[in-house]
């Protein structure tokens, strides 16, 4: 999983079957210090609560679809959590 910042949303009324009701968000992947790294991508919102500006973490590849109510859908990135805090260094 990687960290990402939600930049916006994608509205698509015509979607592949199984994707009804799924929200798609534009995500900027981040490095562990929360600095932008790599190209933006579109991820399905599997927590149904993420919104623009939020720090999230997302899963890529086949496992992304597993996060959704219907797991056999064409999705390659899914937001699986909203980050409260990232602790780097120090004690866990």
């Amino acid at each position: 999983m990687q960290l990402g910042r939600v930049l916006g949303r994608v509205v698509a009324s015509e979607k592949s079957p199984g994707l009804e009701g799924i929200r798609f968000l534009i995500v900027q992947p981040l490095d562990k210090s929360e600095k932008p790294k790599g190209e933006t991508l579109v991820a399905a919102d599997a927590v149904f609560m993420a919104g623009p500006g939020e720090l999230v973490y997302f899963v890529a590849s086949r496992e992304a679809a597993e996060a959704l109510p219907e797991p056999f859908v064409p999705v390659d990135h899914a937001i699986v959590g909203i980050v409260d805090q990232v602790h780097l260094g120090g004690s866990a």
Binding site: M1, A46, V47, M49, A67, I82, V83, V86
Partner: protein
């Protein structure tokens, strides 16, 4: 599998249900030559801590098997704590 160093933790209260009872660790992926190899956020099943050199499994089906799940969006799991890395008879890292 990949060798990595645990450098932090992620705290999250809103997440998909399969992640509810698991700690998430920020892990720097280690290249043998010491160059940076990116990072990943992995589920911890071995009680690893910050500073530990660990073994990361990054494949969904095996990850679900370890966690006893038939379904679930989990791919990266910390599955071992490394005691020693030896390359060409030379110890290059000690956990």
């Amino acid at each position: 599998m990949k060798v990595a160093t645990v450098v932090g933790t992620v705290v999250s209260t809103i997440n998909i249900p399969v992640l509810d009872k698991h700690r998430l660790l920020v892990c720097d992926l280690d290249n043998l030559d010491g160059s940076p190899g990116g990072y990943t956020i992995a589920v911890d099943v071995v009680d690893a801590g910050i500073g530990d050199t660990v073994l990361i499994l990054d494949e969904g089906s095996s990850a679900r098997q370890i966690l006893g799940l038939s379904a679930g969006a989990i791919r990266a799991v910390v599955v071992g704590i490394v005691d020693e890395l030896v390359v060409d008879d030379e110890v290059i890292a000690v956990g």
